[in-house]
Each structure stands twice: as structure tokens, then as C-alpha cells.
């Protein structure tokens, strides 16, 4: 190499890798069982977990700047990977989003994975043995997972795509987006919107202050509840659904197949309106007081639909 090119290479190297900002590099790989139980702990940063065909566990990337190394132990079908952080009395190491690990982890398709972090974003793809992703401040993304799936964050968004199994999605402050899921679905948010387009047969949703929008196909059982949020649910291709809904002040809007066969019971006890454009039945009003009530049956009354609210409105219609 000529001296000028050497210099250029050196300058480029310096520009690309500011050593003080990145943590220690890591590149580890080992053979594990096809159904390995994998536990990953990483307090801060970005972690991507990807399922691969090989029976191996690998972790590549950079560790948290403040990390004191890592632990990686495999025995008896269990592999534990932990980024070690110093204990501090000062309530955390700062939540600068640019700080923290940056890791890509590969696991076998059939493995069961648990991830736990604090100021961390985590994503997982393709794991089929069961997945649990848990963070406090951060987003959770999951795609094409199977089995028992639990996605939890306190402050952050949950994005769930094409997952199939028993899903449990929870956030306190944040949105939940679920698209293309199947199996059973349980969603909880306190402050935040929940938006679902799913073919799950069993769906439960609860929101305190926030809206819920559900587009469901083939769902047989649906339970939704809200305190102050409005919930609208469209349930398609379900002739005998079992639906139970409860809200305090939020509106409940439900649209069903025109040929649905079910017993209906709708109640609004303190001022809510009941609108029904599914059938010609109209709500009756108590002679004294604001209570409204509507009970009727369509088809052979196979399904069961109960909606009750205190002061929210109830709207029932066909698609």
C-alpha cells in the first residue's frame, strides 16, 4: 500500500469506530439442543432475537458501555446469557437511548426463549417453542412466533405480527398493535390504544383509558372491557359467537354477521344509549330512571352476546 492510501485507511478506521462510544464487542456461538430453554438478560439497548435452522446459540454485537462483561452458561438444555451491569445506588445508569448493548442473537427454531430488560427494545422472530419478552421502557416486536407468547412492557409499544399460539400482550402506557394472529389472544393496556386484526378464536381485551379497535375473523369467544375508552369490534365469519363486554363510560360498538345466531342482552344503566341496527328490536326504557335494556334472539340463539355499560353508549350493527 502507498503511504497515502495507508493514511486514508487509518483515517477511515478512526472515523467509523469511535472507540469511546461503543462497548466491548461480542461474538460467541455454541451448539445447543434443538429445544433449548434460553434466558437472556440485557438491561439497556437493542436486542434482536432470530430463530434459525441450526441447533446453535449465537450472540453478536456490542455490549453496554457500562457493562462488566457477560455470563454465558449452557447446561442440561438451558442456556443463560446475561450482560452484567454494575449495581449502582443512583437509580439506574441513565436512559439515554443511544447507550446500551446492541445485540443480534440467534436461537434454534424449537427453542423456548425468555428475555428480560429495563431500558431495552427487543424484537423476536420465528421462535416456535414459546417466547416471553419483558421490558420496562422499551418497545417489543414479535413476528411469526408460535406457542405460548407473552409480550410485556410498561412504557412502550407492542407490535405483534403473524404470531400463532396463546398470546398475552400487556402494556401500561403504550399502544398494542396485533396483526394476523391466530390461536388465543389476551391484550391489556392501561393508557394506550389497542389495535387488532386477528383470526384468533379466543380474544380477551381490557383497556382503562384508551381506545380499542378489533377486526376479528372467525372468533368464537370475545371478552372486552374498558373503563373510559371506546371499543369498537367487528366480528366476521362467526355465526355463534360468545361475546361479553363491559364498560363504564366508554362506548361499545359491535358489528356482527347479518346471519348471526345468538341470544342478546344489552344493558345501559345510567344514561347510555342503546342503538341496534342488526335487528328491528328496540331498547326498552325503565319507567323511572335512566336504565335502558334490550334482550332478543336471532336465529336459533346458539351464541350469547352480553354487553353492559354504565354511562357509555352501546351500538350493535351488521357489517
Amino acid at each position: 500500500m502507498t503511504p497515502s492510501i495507508k493514511l486514508t485507511v487509518l483515517m477511515l478506521a478512526l472515523l467509523q469506530a469511535p472507540a469511546w462510544a461503543a462497548g466491548e464487542a461480542i461474538d460467541q456461538s455454541r451448539d445447543v439442543t434443538a429445544t433449548e430453554k434460553i434466558e437472556i438478560e440485557n438491561m439497556r439497548g437493542e436486542v434482536r432475537i432470530i430463530a434459525v435452522k441450526a441447533n446453535k446459540f449465537s450472540v453478536k454485537g456490542t455490549l453496554d458501555e457500562k457493562a462488566e462483561g457477560y455470563d454465558l452458561v449452557s447446561e442440561n438444555g438451558v442456556t443463560r446469557f446475561q450482560v452484567k451491569m454494575p449495581r449502582t445506588l443512583y437509580g439506574g445508569w441513565g436512559s439515554d437511548k443511544n447507550e446500551g448493548s446492541d445485540l443480534t442473537i440467534e436461537v434454534p427454531f424449537g427453542s423456548e426463549v425468555k428475555f428480560s430488560g429495563v431500558n431495552a427494545n427487543v424484537s423476536a422472530t420465528g421462535i416456535e417453542g414459546g417466547t416471553r419478552l419483558n421490558t420496562v421502557n422499551g418497545a417489543v416486536r414479535a413476528e411469526k412466533l408460535k406457542g405460548d407468547i407473552a409480550l410485556e412492557t410498561v412504557n412502550g409499544q407492542i407490535d405483534s405480527r403473524d404470531n400463532n399460539g396463546r398470546l398475552h400482550l400487556t402494556t401500561v402506557n403504550g399502544e398494542i398493535n396485533d396483526q394476523g394472529s391466530a390461536g388465543s389472544l389476551e391484550l391489556e393496556s392501561v393508557n394506550g390504544e389497542i389495535s387488532v386484526a386477528s383470526a384468533a378464536t379466543d380474544v380477551e381485551m381490557s383497556v382503562v383509558n384508551g381506545e380499542g379497535r378489533l377486526e376479528l375473523t372467525g372468533t368464537e369467544r370475545l371478552e372486552f372491557s374498558s373503563v373510559n375508552g371506546e371499543i369498537s369490534a367487528a366480528v366476521k365469519n362467526s355465526k355463534k359467537p360468545r361475546i361479553s363486554a363491559s364498560s363504564v363510560s366508554g362506548a361499545s360498538r359491535l358489528s356482527l354477521d347479518a346471519d348471526v345466531s345468538a341470544r342478546f342482552e344489552l344493558e345501559a344503566s345510567a344514561g347510555g344509549d342503546i342503538g341496534n341496527s342488526l335487528t328491528a328490536d328496540k331498547a326498552s326504557r325503565d319507567k323511572y330512571g335512566p336504565r335502558r335494556h334490550l334482550e332478543f334472539t336471532t336465529g336459533s340463539g346458539d351464541g350469547n352476546i352480553e354487553i353492559s355499560t354504565v354511562s357509555g353508549d352501546i351500538e350493535l350493527k351488521k357489517h
Binding site: 341470544r263 342478546f264 342482552e265 334482550e295 350469547n304 352480553e306
Partner: protein
Amino acid sequence: MQQQLETWVHQAKKGDQQAFYQLYHQFKGRVYAICLRLLADRGQAEDATQEAFVRAWQQLPGFRGDSSFSTWLHSISSRTAVDIWRKNKVMRLVVDEEPEEQGYVDAPEMPQLEQAILRLPSQARAVFVLFALEGYQHNEIAEMLGIAEGSSKAQYHRARQLLRSWVDEN
């Protein structure tokens, strides 16, 4: 028999425990059957049976004979068993996220259907027992169990479906 019963009731009302024992002896099987089938737990059914008779003793002075004693006792027994059933339900909801757990009754000496009833999930079993065996209507059951009338009907159908499939497989 009816005469004998009336005498016992009359005496028991006045405080005659021997007479009350005769009534207990006459009806304990009936009361225990309701309790066991509703609660699916021998220990609880025994407690419930005792409780039902204690309540009957306490309320006897108010029993005016406008219905038969048997009907009156039946009502007390059902409601006592349902009290305990409801208490169980609250405990399950608060302490445990799985509402469908129930005590297991090992009863190989019992006929198939009896065993199958004990296996039903809690709410379906309560509705089934009250409707099909104890003769309550769905609106009454709804009030007793604290559920909607629609739920009562749905649970009843579900119970029948489960029973029909279970009694076949043995």
C-alpha cells in the same frame, strides 16, 4: 308418613331436638346430594349440609307450613350450597387467575353420570344442577348465582354437551 313429618316439624319448632333429628335423618341424603353435586367437594358438601340444617333449625319458627317442609328445606339447602359456591368463585378470581379449578371427587362407586357431573366446570355444573336436578328456572338461577340469564342458558347447554360426550367415552 306425612302425618309423622308434620308431628316432627311441629315438635322441632318448639325446640325438640330429638324431633329435629328425625327430620335430619329423613332428609340428610337429599340435602347432601344437592350440596355435593353443586360443590363437587366432599368436605365442602359436608359443611354445607350441616350449615343448611343449622339454618333450617334457626328459621323453623318462621316456617308457617304454607309449602311443604321438604320444599322449604330444599330451598334452604340450595341457597346454602350456592352461598359457598359464590364464596369459592370470589376466592378464585382474587387469588388465582384460573377460574375453572375445582376440588376433585374420587367416586368410582358412583354411576357414570354422577361422576361426570362432578367433573363439569364450576359454573356449568352449578347451572346444570340447579336447572336439571333441582328444578329452578334460568331467571332464578341467574339471580342466585349472580350471572345473566343468557349465561345461565348458555352454561346449561354447555353442561349437557360435555356430559353427553363424557358418559359415552367410559
